[in-house]
């Protein structure tokens, strides 16, 4: 039963400080929706939350389909998760939380209302306030959090091509009822880049809390409110991934600036980010705020969150990114920069720690990861969890170099193979014949060959020590990099010495 006392409106929302900066200043606020897929089940029923790639409408039940008579029951773990996030964002966890119904008609909503904790009238969400500090270049910036709350995901509308030209709409309710955590920031972000940095940091925190698999497409989505200073606020919806955030925001800012340049006004509206065409399109005018007729959900009782409960969650909290970065610096002696890059992605950081457990030279491991591994991932548009490389294999490769079986240079050629195929480095070396040539006999003939092919360079080298490098390079080239570099150097020098005599 809802006690009316808690429902008194405080009218605290919608206080936006508008500064009188110049017209080109941009203000961005984000509404981030995070799917709590680690919950295993949906927010109010026992259906599996692992819906990616499943047949449409195969993970549904009377509750998430809104069949008459079915009732929601709160997944208790969702409160643990949500409180964890609230604590990580320095938010104040409410003593009692309510669910509300947000009433509106839309085909992705099986009940034509959404169970949420937002009520627009000052109702109590799971947590309020808080902040997240981000690093933008050299400056640190505090981004204020407005609120954190739980709600259910609607179903998914599937269109043929773009939303505005599709001849039909299909509805897949597998997503309907998935637990969503909504995190709302104040309009404290000044650029698309800051928005990306904020989201990356947030994602790292969420991953470290173990509450979602951020790599799954659509598991973190956001809506953005964008305005030029003094201008009208436009909401952009349907930003489904991190890569899209920067693009969508940049487009929208450009669109608004162009309108202002032409002397046209920016309309208060909701726009839809069309990923394939990379434009925002107008969906509905926001001339009048939609009346969602929020009221307390009668089927769910208010939930009391005791101090003990919060303390308990605090104790269970895993290490957060900031602490992990410090630990990487202190325990492994990594430079701050290395630590930050590795921890920005929990998978990278975990990979690093696994590798260091097997091979106790942290900086060496970090170098390979920060350099070749990351470059390879980026070049192939991959993320670490997509590829098959293991810490054991990376250690094996580093040891092969250390033991002189392959050169460092060959290592750089083996690593991409490891990333793409997941093969053991020793196997790759064997298959491609990349074992280092360290025998004098095998190399002497090739040295002869190099000297006879480049007589003028030999002349130069006899006079100038710097020109020797060219001959060594040629030798490496002729052996496809397999020659033991030290021995190659030594043999070239010996040969030159013999010519001098």
């Amino acid at each position: 039963m809802v006690n009316a006392k808690h429902l008194n409106s405080t009218d605290k929302n919608n206080v936006t400080e508008m500064s009188t900066k110049n017209q080109n200043e941009v203000r961005i606020g984000l509404e981030v929706h995070v799917q709590l897929t680690s919950l295993k089940t949906k927010l109010f029923c026992g259906c599996s939350s692992d819906y990616k790639g499943k047949d449409p409408n195969s993970l549904v039940c009377p509750v998430c389909l809104g069949i008459p008579g079915a009732l929601p029951v709160l997944n208790a773990n969702s409160v643990d998760y949500a409180v964890m996030v609230a604590l990580a964002l320095n938010s104040k966890v409410s003593e009692c939380m309510f669910f509300f119904r947000k009433n509106y008609y839309y085909p992705d909503m099986p009940k034509n209302f959404q169970i949420s904790q937002y009520d627009q009238a000052g109702g109590v969400p799971l947590a309020v306030g808080g902040f997240l500090v981000i690093d933008v270049g050299t400056k640190r910036k505090k981004v204020r959090i407005g609120r954190v709350h739980l709600e259910e995901d609607p179903g998914r509308l599937v269109h043929q091509g773009a939303i505005d030209t599709s001849p039909y709409t299909l509805v897949d309710y597998n997503r309907s009822g998935i637990a969503l955590l909504e995190i709302v920031t104040e309009p404290d972000l000044d650029s698309p880049k800051e928005a990306r940095i904020f989201l990356q940091k947030l994602r790292s925190i969420l991953e470290h809390l173990g509450i979602f698999a951020g790599r799954l497409e659509g598991s973190i989505r956001c809506d953005a409110n964008i305005s030029l200073t003094g201008g009208t606020r436009v909401e952009v919806k349907n930003i489904s991934s991190f890569k899209e955030v920067e693009r969508a925001l940049s487009f929208e800012i450009m669109r608004q600036k162009n309108l202002v340049k032409k002397g046209l006004s920016v309309k208060h509206e909701t726009r839809h980010w069309d990923e394939s065409r990379r434009v925002t399109i107008s969906l509905r005018m926001k001339e009048k705020e939609h009346d969602y007729r929020y009221f307390p959900e009668p089927d769910l009782v208010p939930i009391t969150i005791t101090e003990d409960f919060v303390e308990n969650v605090k104790e269970k909290m895993p290490e957060l990114p900031e602490a992990r970065i410090s630990r990487f610096v202190d325990a492994y002696g990594l430079p701050q920069y290395d630590a930050e890059v590795l921890v920005s992605d929990k998978a990278l950081a975990d990979f690093f720690e696994c590798t260091v457990k097997l091979y106790d030279k942290p900086k060496e491991v970090s170098n390979w990861m920060m350099g070749d591994l990351l470059r390879n991932l980026n070049e192939n548009n991959l993320v670490l969890t997509d590829c098959k490389i293991t810490p054991e294999h990376l250690v094996e490769m580093i040891k092969l170099i250390e033991e002189g079986v392959i050169s460092g240079k060959i290592g750089k050629r083996v690593l991409p193979e490891m990333v793409l195929t997941g093969k053991q480095p020793s196997l790759i070396i064997k298959e491609k014949g990349l074992v280092k040539i360290s025998s004098r006999d095998a190399l002497e003939g090739i040295v002869e060959q190099v000297f006879s092919e480049h007589p003028s360079c030999v002349e130069d080298a006899l006079a100038d020590e710097n020109a020797v490098h060219f001959l060594v390079g040629q030798l490496m080239r002729a052996t496809k990099g397999k020659a033991d570099p030290q021995l190659a150097n030594q043999l070239i020098h010996e040969k030159l010495e013999s010519l001098k005599k």
């Binding site: 039963m1 809802v2 006690n3 009316a4 429902l7 409106s9 009377p62 389909l65 809104g66 069949i67 008459p68 008579g69 079915a70 009732l71 929601p72 029951v73 709160l74 119904r101 009433n103 008609y105 085909p107 099986p110 009940k111 034509n112 209302f113 009238a121 709409t169 509805v171 705020e289 009346d291 007729r293 929020y294 009221f295 009668p298 089927d299 769910l300 009782v301």
Partner: protein, 488 residues
């Protein structure tokens, strides 16, 4: 010697267990009555005769094999059409759901099946339980067995009528603002609205979820206690379900009212209360005093606001609960779906819902709208708290509160249907217990001009035992239970 369809559930179970009769014979007898009377009564929307007889055979086989059977073995049970039954049409007496077959059983249905009760059909009701006369049904009104020109009460009119006519042995009703007690009173049967949360609402098609409960409608108080024992109990599928130990309510039935302190709130005898009704209820109170009870007149002043509070909350919740009926996934759909989804939704809802349902959706939508929410809905919630406090105070002094269930006897079909406010007024004595979430029973307590009168006994939360015992004591010392409508 009563005929098989005239037996109470207790008698039926006993005779089947003693091998005097078979479950099949009992169910058959009930269906014969149905076939004889349905044209005149219209208590049912759907009958499942073949399935019911098969189930009866199964139970007979179990008994002849010496296997154990459940507490309701062989009893013919009618279910209000607002409760989901897997594979059996569940219409809420609405055009909107005229083809809706639920893919699951409500929790109460599972419990009945577990105890070998036999579902024989789905009973008529006011559309989506919105009404007090069963006249708003898309399938036409149910008629009062005592006078077929009159209403049986509502919204569970079909369930009450089928018990009064022996067209079922037990029935389930639902009560949002009196929908079990009103028709129980008008048809001279027993009806209990349990404490909010005692019976699982899982599978009850919602009208106003913070108010409603499923409850038993029976031929006598013993059956009511027996049926309640089967359907009550915690259900993890209902977030508002109360976590209490299962209980055998038949154990609390004693023919004794010694020490029972009765409060008689003057608000239950307000303006518009029929004199004969008032007199019969007072006679009933005195009857209980003969068995050791004492009474005192009292007042619950906030009950004055019950009706307004009730209708605002019920309609607001209804406007949201009924939003899901858009025709997209199930339910009524206009033939031509041309136009965008919003247009199609509008057409489906305009044609699929009846006038009273549309009226309540519109009023509820208005009450929740920005600018009106504080004035209506929020205020109603506050008054609701005050009403609850009035009851809490009263129960510090009294064990039960007694008054009439309905302020006047059953009215003519068509008499009030054009005047919604007059119809809403008939709920004046029943809605307050829903607002406070309390248990209340209606038990037959006499007649005026051949029309039944019911007495309402209200108790503190989870004290169904008190209402049942008081009703039982009254019933045992009067003969209203034996009076049956002439139509039989």
């Amino acid at each position: 010697m009563p005929k098989l369809h005239e037996l109470t559930a207790k008698q039926t179970i006993q005779k089947i267990q003693d091998n005097e009769v078979t479950a099949q014979e009992c169910v058959q007898a009930v269906f014969e009555t149905i076939h004889k009377l349905e044209d005149k009564i219209n208590a049912y929307v759907t009958l499942v005769e073949e399935e019911a007889l098969n189930k009866a055979k199964e139970i007979d086989r179990k008994i002849s094999d010496g296997k154990p059977v459940g507490k309701l073995a062989g009893v013919a049970i009618a279910v209000k059409d607002a409760i989901c039954t897997q594979g059996i049409l569940t219409t809420c007496s609405s055009r909107m759901l005229q083809n809706f077959v639920p893919p699951y059983d409500a929790e109460v249905i599972e419990r009945i099946k577990r105890e070998d009760g036999i579902i024989i059909g789905k009973t008529n009701m006011d559309e989506f339980a919105m009404g007090s006369s069963t006249e708003t049904s898309y399938f036409g009104p149910t008629r009062n067995p005592w006078d077929t020109s009159r209403v049986p009460g509502g919204s569970s009119g079909g369930s009450a009528a089928c018990i009064a006519t022996n067209e079922a042995t037990l029935a389930l009703g639902t009560d949002t603002g009196g929908s079990i007690r009103c028709p129980a009173s008008y048809c001279s049967v027993v009806g209990l609205k349990p404490t909010y949360g005692l019976v699982s609402r899982y599978g009850l098609i919602a009208y106003a979820n913070s108010l409603e409960q499923i409850g038993p409608m029976t031929k006598d108080v013993y059956d009511c206690a027996l049926f309640l024992s089967v359907i009550a109990g915690h259900d993890s599928k209902d977030g508002t379900s109360v976590n209490v130990e299962p209980k055998d309510y038949t154990k609390c039935l004693k023919n004794n009212a010694k020490g029972l302190k009765i409060g008689v709130p003057k608000e239950f005898f307000g303006e518009g209360t029929n004199e004969a009704v008032e007199k019969q209820v007072w006679n009933a109170i005195h009857k209980l005093e003969e068995r050791g009870a004492s009474h005192e007149e009292t007042s619950l002043p906030n009950l004055e606001h019950s009706l307004a509070t009730y209708y605002i909350i019920a309609m607001s919740e209804a406007s949201s609960n009924l939003a899901r009926y858009d025709g997209l996934r199930y339910g009524y759909r206009v033939d031509k779906d041309d136009g965008d989804w919003a247009t199609v939704y509008s057409k489906n809802r305009r044609d699929g819902f009846g006038a009273e349902v549309r009226r309540r959706i519109i009023l509820g939508t208005y009450a929740l709208s920005a600018g009106y929410y504080n004035k209506y809905y929020l205020k109603a919630l506050k008054v609701r708290t005050l009403i609850r406090e009035n009851f809490t105070e009263a129960f510090k002094k009294f064990d039960v509160l007694i008054g009439p269930t309905m302020p006047f006897p059953p009215f003519k079909i068509g008499e009030k249907i054009q005047d919604p406010l007059a119809l809403y007024m008939s709920d004046v004595d029943t809605v307050s217990t829903n607002l406070a979430g309390l248990p209340a029973i209606s038990v037959p307590c006499g007649f005026t001009d051949g029309l039944p009168i019911g007495m309402q006994i209200t108790a503190p939360p989870l004290r169904e035992d008190l209402t049942l015992q008081a009703a039982y004591t009254f019933e045992q010392n009067t003969d209203y239970k034996t009076k049956k409508p002439a139509i039989n």
